[in-house]
């Protein structure tokens, strides 16, 4: 009998089984609640991974699509306009709307150089919540839209119990992982990676780079539509301050930490950062308070910590904790140059040139 290897479908099945039984073992509602929120961020990270990890396009306003998905659900499935579309329909509608906005934003800018896209998405991420705030006759401005419809599944009401949301989230994540994997291994996925490595070369190989980039943008955005619907329906309300720039950077740091381009890495990265946010920092704060008698509030500096994580990982391990092999090779391609240059410089200096 061969050695038992924990990888591939076997590992997947094991993780899946563990996920299925968690609500039976851990009956603490707040833990399940946390896992549902963390799950929404796993979905977001998987979506952003398509844009940044696969296609190499830096989207700094990803939370805007999350906002669009959430608000779509809030407007079409609540007493706000007295429209009550079921959540199962809204998953398709909201991810469609988010995808369309992805195309609207991407179409004019994707023809341009990559770094312009970063700044345009940054601006987009800033104005989308602002717009929802300003259009207060439709969105109630800063108060947001509340008492959203609670999902029912063949007569079973979700109510305020987090467990059904947990299973819903689990299904969504499994679907998202399968879709992301198949996309990565498809013709389109290979086109994305070719563009990421060398756009000019990819174009010369006959890839329609604009179409490929646009589809990465739209598909990535549609994932956040799913996350938006699930998150909003669990919370029961949406408001503009849930979708600030901080959220975009939070998701970005999940990708950077876990390993851009690697699906497992991204999932792990987002779970690690979500737990850091919810458990570890408050624990550290009370530890420093009670044991060390210091008055350091780590939860206040959470975004400082994410910034430091981003910079340190990019400098010292740009491929992340769980790297994608190709991505690692790309990110280290330029490594030899500076040292060679420095060596040469030293030799010049010695020779007195």
């Amino acid at each position: 009998m061969g050695r038992f290897k924990l990888e591939g479908p076997r590992a997947g099945a094991l993780v899946m089984a563990a996920c299925l039984v968690i609500p039976f073992i851990d009956r603490n509602g707040s833990h399940i609640n946390f896992l549902v929120d963390a799950g929404a961020f796993v979905l977001l990270a998987l979506g952003l991974n398509i844009v940044i990890g696969f296609a190499g396009l830096l989207d700094l306003g990803y939370a805007a699509f999350f906002a669009i998905g959430s608000y779509a659900f809030a407007m079409l499935s609540s007493p706000q306009f007295n429209i009550h579309w079921p959540i199962w329909v809204m998953f398709f509608v909201a991810s469609g709307i988010a995808g369309i906005f992805g195309i609207l934003l991407g179409a004019p800018t994707l023809r341009l150089r990559g770094d312009y896209l970063a700044i345009v998405t940054l601006g987009f991420g800033e104005i989308v919540p602002q717009t929802f705030l300003n259009l207060s006759q439709y969105t109630n401005g800063p108060n947001g839209i509340s008492s959203l419809d609670q999902p029912t599944f063949f007569g079973y009401k979700f109510g305020f119990n987090p467990v059904p949301y947990y299973y819903l989230m689990l299904v969504l994540i499994v679907l998202a992982i399968l879709v992301a994997r198949n996309l990565r291994d498809s013709r389109l996925g290979r086109a994305w990676m070719a563009i990421r490595e060398d756009e000019l070369a990819a174009a010369h190989m006959g890839i329609n780079t604009t179409a490929a980039k646009l589809s990465a943008f739209a598909l990535g955005a549609s994932f956040s539509g799913l996350a938006g619907v699930a998150y909003a329906s669990k919370l029961g309300l949406v408001s503009p301050d849930q979708f600030k720039f901080n959220v975009s950077v939070f998701i970005l740091s999940m990708l950077v930490l876990g390993g851009m381009g690697n699906i497992t890495g991204v999932v792990v990265g987002s779970l690690v950062l979500s737990s850091l946010d919810r458990f570890i920092l408050p624990q550290l704060t009370s530890f420093s308070h009670d044991v060390m008698h210091l008055n350091i509030d780590f939860t206040n500096s959470r975004f400082l910590i994410y910034g430091i994580i981003i910079v340190l990982v990019m400098l010292f391990r740009p491929e992340g904790l769980i790297p994608s092999r190709q991505r690692k090779a790309e990110l280290h391609a330029g490594d030899t140059d500076p040292s060679v240059a420095a060596q040469e410089q030293q030799e010049y200096n010695k020779a007195g040139i």
Partner: protein, 304 residues
């Protein structure tokens, strides 16, 4: 009409601040093709440093005569120096290692640096806006009907234009300026010609960040407050200004800054201040679609 003219005046002085920030964006982008997202936060830092220096000098109220000149010079110089050094430090720590990495890597690091700076400022001075002592007397020095021009507005514009002329002269006439232009054109060739590119890039960051420090001082004096996240929106607008003028072009950054200031002031007056950001952002997208090389820029071929 008076309202319109008054908003033009306000817009131009606001534009002076954007222009100063835009100069730094355009210089750094010109030389290493990196959008330095942390640049806007260096600007916000400039306001805080000015505040700290004013506290150190014990300035609380209006100052007159020679003392006023002394306080202005000291505060401005301190803010420029501190911001310049922070800029050099950021380049050394965060960007230099990644100079040959794929372009995505330094961009992501830049957004991380921006976040770090913002949160350090928040930890330093707290999340709410901090008042800055109004030590410069602000008489109205020009009247025409209901249109007023105040001393501070003149100060902003004069300072911005003077900085731009000094910078333009530096880049065109000095040896270091020539090295910058050479490095911007072709880094490897410049190095082969004996230019120390590390020093050249560091000097670029020093000057660009010192200009952001100037802008931070000016906006602190002009608005009378400093807030930790001011750099985010201002940075976005200043970058829009740099793109509008033609990125890499010093006069273009200036022109773009004044235009963005005008657009913002007029939007605030005639539409609503809630929509000012949206309008400026639409300008950015429109420029990128219809004239990506900007008003004064030449169209650059994609570097391979």
């Amino acid at each position: 009409m008076d309202v319109f003219l008054q908003q033009v005046v306000n817009g131009i002085s606001l534009g002076g601040i954007y222009a100063l920030i835009a100069l730094g964006y355009t210089m750094v982008y010109g030389i290493i093709e990196l959008i330095n997202f942390a640049h806007g936060d260096v600007y916000a830092l400039g306001s805080f440093i000015s505040l700290a220096i004013l506290a150190l000098l014990g300035v609380q109220d209006e100052v007159h005569g020679a003392a006023l000149i002394g306080v202005i010079v000291l505060t401005l110089a301190g803010s420029m120096l501190a911001c310049g050094l922070v800029g050099v430090l950021i380049e050394r720590l965060a960007y230099r290692r990644l100079r040959n990495a794929p372009r995505l890597a330094p961009l992501i690091t830049a957004i991380g640096m921006s976040f770090i700076l913002q949160n350090v400022m928040q930890l330093w001075k707290g999340p709410s806006p901090v008042p800055i002592p109004q030590f410069i007397p602000n008489p109205t020095i020009f009247h025409a009907g209901a249109v007023e021009i105040q001393l501070k507005q003149v100060l902003v514009v004069v300072l911005a234009v003077a900085m731009m002329i000094a910078l333009q002269t530096f880049v065109q006439k000095t040896r270091m300026g020539k090295a910058m232009r050479a490095t911007a054109q072709d880094r490897d060739a410049a190095q082969l010609m004996g230019i120390n590119i590390n020093t050249t890039i560091a000097v670029t960051f020093l000057i660009g960040s010192a200009l952001a420090g100037t802008a931070g001082f000016v906006s602190g004096v002009y608005y009378g407050t400093a807030v930790f996240n001011a750099g985010f929106a201002a940075g976005l607008k200043a970058f829009t200004a740099a793109v509008l003028g033609g990125i890499g072009n010093i006069a273009g950054a200036m022109l773009g800054g004044f235009l963005i200031g005008l657009i913002e002031a007029l939007t605030t007056q005639f539409i609503s201040d809630q929509w000012a950001n949206v309008v400026v952002f639409s300008v950015l997208v429109a420029v990128l679609i219809f004239r990506p090389s900007g008003l004064l820029g030449e169209s650059l071929p994609n570097k391979v």
